[in-house]
Subunit: 367 residues, 2 copies
């Protein structure tokens, strides 16, 4: 049996589901993979619970999950301690050969992850932020000091398309030397929901309000509608195909105008109907051409762009409904017919399962 020490940064929804899945899959991973994932440390933005022994007891971890689910910080956990930063958490929590798992949504974990790699640990990211900072940070998190892919130590599958194996597929194409020409797709379940609603004839204000009420959007829907989250995913794919680009190089079309950018969330929701007419005529024009609108990320050596695209109704993107994601790869061997991946591209548990797959994958690499 191989013991894999795990350090978890971030105990939000994804972090808690990840820990919970490790606990519930213990017998399975033991029997079928010969693995014991020993959680040595869990941390949130200010607190840390860690152990010098083999791992935190499962009973304590289960109790910590309840404590956090009730909205209480880790620093208040009996036996928990303060933690200055994710770096502090990683340094205190790791044992030799650990996997440091970033389930946070913070920029601030980049230091911790870089330190972990330099110290000989492995890393898994569900967090897009560290991978979309400066190119130098991307290189340190994904490449060896010699400049080669560090896939034996670093994985980030769920940063694009949640559990859909988008990044793994890209790595397989790239790894064989098959030149990836382009990746196009719908990478936001939230915007997929909005676009499908518009296609069905709903008003923009109505479908955004529905999406917010159903919990499909961030608390401020502009965080989705602005397109930056999709742009981060497009950038991760672009960098994954070898393009040396930064977030500023991604052309981003926002679904709301400058004028409503500074409103409060309540004011913004009230102002939404002023945008209805524009979307309605845009959709109607598309429909007259047997097409519909989708919010599409397009990645190629020529340009990386996220924004509205008119697609024909019988195309894979035109047939996509609801919150499903879809990515089409064109490469040397997949051309003119693309390689297509489709399915749920969001969801706390599916994302956490994808993180767990990355950890299991890394357990087969050199420790």
């Amino acid at each position: 049996m191989v013991d894999v020490p795990v350090v978890v940064l971030g105990l939000g929804n994804v972090g808690r589901s990840f820990v919970s899945q490790i606990l519930s899959q213990r017998a399975f991973h033991d029997r079928h993979y010969g693995l014991r994932l020993s959680i040595r440390a869990v941390s949130d933005s200010q607190g840390l619970v860690c152990t010098g022994d083999g791992g935190l007891p499962d009973t304590e971890l289960a109790a910590i999950l309840k404590h956090k689910a009730a909205g209480r910080p880790l620093a208040e956990w009996p036996g928990g301690g303060a933690c200055d930063s994710p770096l502090d958490a990683a340094q205190q929590g790791t044992a030799p050969g650990s996997v440091v798992v970033d389930c946070s949504a913070a920029d601030a974990t980049a230091d911790a992850l870089q330190w972990a790699l330099e110290a000989g640990h492995r890393i898994v990211l569900a967090n897009k932020k560290p991978l979309t900072q400066d190119l130098a940070v991307w290189n340190r998190l994904t490449h060896t000091p010699e400049g080669t892919w560090n896939l034996g130590r670093s994985r980030w599958e769920t940063t694009v398309g949640s559990g859909l194996p988008v990044v793994a597929t890209l790595h397989r194409l790239v790894g064989s030397g098959d030149p990836v020409v382009s990746m196009d797709g719908a990478l936001s379940g939230t915007l997929g929901y909005v676009m499908t609603g518009l296609q069905q004839g709903k008003a923009f204000s109505e479908v955004v309000s529905e999406a917010k009420a159903s919990g499909y959007t961030e608390p401020d829907p502009r965080d989705d509608l602005g397109g930056v989250d999709v742009a981060r995913k497009a950038l991760i794919l672009a960098r994954g195909m070898g393009l040396d680009l930064s977030l500023a190089d991604v052309e981003i079309e926002s679904l709301y105008p400058e004028e409503v950018a500074d409103l409060t969330v309540d004011e913004f929701m009230k102002a939404l109907p002023t945008l209805n007419q524009g979307f309605q005529s845009h959709c109607a024009a598309a429909a007259r051409r047997n097409a519909c609108l989708r919010y599409v990320a397009s990645v190629s050596a020529d340009a990386v762009r996220v924004g509205l695209q008119e697609v024909t109704l019988d195309s894979p993107l035109g047939q996509l409904q609801g919150t499903d994601n879809l990515v089409q790869f064109l490469s040397g061997w997949y051309n003119p017919q693309p390689l297509v991946l489709q399915g749920r591209g969001a969801g706390v548990d599916a994302t956490a399962a994808g993180v767990l797959s990355d950890v299991v994958d890394l357990a087969f690499t050199h420790p």
Copy 2:
């Protein structure tokens, strides 16, 4: 730089393309992966060329590819030697930490692959045969002696769907403990071509003759039409989700009747029109229900079946055209909307590229 000794069993179309891609990607794998894939031995059914040094020179390998492409056996290559069996080739060819790559289509490689694992080497299979023999052979080729998945040493991505990451996707789902409920799909480019042709109104005899003339079928089209090749793929998926089944457990519907099984190929081709009427009425009945026929592999704990299915025109399988493959996974997290993979599921170069991806993947695991 990591040197990975490679031994190639089988120098048919896929084996030659695999060697050729290694040669043409040398600078790429060096620069981006820090890898040198040293081909220490190549073999065909009777011959072996191998070296005791770091690897066969690229110039010699390129010349060997030409020699084989001209239809000449390896045993005739100057400096080549006889080889009794794939096991003999593997034993003579390997150096410590080798990857033995099965690009043959023979049952006989199973011994060589089992020996390689026991001797501490790694294996990659493009060949379905060894993985569809007795369950005991499957277990030895894919699991450790302790009964856990041996993914650090064994890969077989291209046995299902060619370069499409079908097996990798299954491994990711299984690895996280997400219970895979079913896999359904079109896994034969040849039968996809036939089914699309029938849907377009072509006669069965016409579309099979076309497929044969275009090189989409085996020399004897019954090898495709009988469904056994698809059944092998279905079995590999079934075993991959943990079902202890054998080929005899797969329900196989053949597209030709017993009566024509013993004819010569020429006689069979001449007898094809007698089958037209049956397919025509079956297709017409489906069309009246806004459906069409597809040759589908269905894998679940309840049953593994390959055969004709009527699917609605607006379903993913109904929309599939030509030789593309498609697989839908239903699991705990991908339900009711499936995870879908679609794209080219055949082709010599795409398959060889998938084999190369497996080798690169394994290069990141413990040697």
